[in-house]
Assembly symmetry: C2
Homo-oligomer: 217 residues x 2
């Protein structure tokens, strides 16, 4: 059992991730800008989940999962960077720039993941994941027909996050270096486009040609 802080855990994606990880037996701490909202969300999740302000929950966690809108990413990471210690930070930020969310607009640094690394510094164990999975599907108890790409320059950290993804009843797929998160970030705009164009209720992606149960490399 790990202690997992979900920063921005009152949002759709964060709450859905928290719910699946709580069911898997982990101790979840929900974070929000306002501690009260976080505590309310934690109560809804149950399974012993607790809540607090984003800045306060990062300390002492094994994993810190960051699920905030792109516009809040830099401020949120700056707020938690001195508190995460040796925790593995999982950034799920997708650089969507409203109103053109169906258009790929990667940041100058190449990806939101690389921007996160620049803010957190080399000392923080950073992983990028959960870009492409539809929050409203993740919020259910059903199987989700979508692979979860996991990127990191820290192979042990990547493995640990892939193990968490498996526990959430999702298939993790190693995507390589942190810089490769650009692919998953860009794909999210394509999936939003597909939802509109093909009237899909949460389009997703699957990789083909892998073994059915790929090893966690």
């Amino acid at each position: 059992m790990s202690r997992i802080a979900v920063v921005g855990g009152t949002g759709h994606l964060g709450a859905a991730i928290a719910k699946r990880l709580a069911k898997a037996g982990h101790h979840i701490v929900i974070g929000s800008r306002a501690a009260e909202s976080a505590q309310k969300a934690a109560a809804e999740i149950g399974h012993g989940a607790t809540g607090g302000a984003n800045a306060d929950i990062a300390a002492g966690a094994d994993f810190v999962i960051v699920t905030v809108p792109y516009g809040a990413q830099a401020a949120t990471l700056s707020e938690i960077k001195d508190r995460v210690g040796s925790a593995i930070v999982v950034d799920a930020t997708v650089p969507l720039k409203p109103p053109k969310v169906m258009r790929v607009q990667l940041p100058q640094a190449g990806s939101a993941a690389l921007e996160a690394q620049a803010i957190l510094g080399e000392g923080v164990r950073l992983v990028s994941a959960f870009h492409s999975v539809a929050a409203h599907k993740l919020a259910t108890d059903e199987k989700v027909d979508c692979d979860v790409l996991v990127f990191s320059d820290d192979i042990e950290a990547r493995k640990a996050v892939m193990e968490l993804v498996s526990q959430m009843d999702l298939r993790p797929v190693a995507g390589g270096a942190l810089a490769n998160a650009a692919a998953a970030e860009a794909l999210t705009s394509i999936l939003i486009f597909l939802n509109k164009t093909y009237s899909a209720d949460g389009a997703g992606i699957r990789f083909t040609g892998l073994t059915t149960a790929p090893p966690i490399p």
Copy 2:
């Protein structure tokens, strides 16, 4: 039946695309830097395919499909730009930078597709496609378990290319604006990484949650 020029058609991807389109009944003209190599490749394809130098075959085509390595893209497009006229140009370039081909390294402009547009100019009908499909699988007569994303700012041109993709016994998926090609270009490095990491023989992608036979939007 369309007249389809395949620039760089002696390469693995170009030859495989040409073969499927020739079987579908189109008149294929294979291009290479050397006319002789192109004529030899055309003879292997059969179905009335002919060959010539890259610069010579673009004129008079309905479609000009460009399948060259990233390092040759700019020179090749510059060579053909004044000859393509009203043809639909389909660029399949993936910005791989050897030796780090498993690392996403998108160009400063955002994508090879946008670089192509800058070279060809706004007057050329440009589509980006065929990034993710494994050439050695495309070269067979088998079904390929991989969707083909098709991007363009010219919706009629996108539709026309999606129709060609269907005729090749592949599923086309509209990916939106030309700028969105960044997603498919980046994904190709991920697929190369997966081939190595999961010992896959040509990993691919499938989109989920769409209808089985998506309309061509």
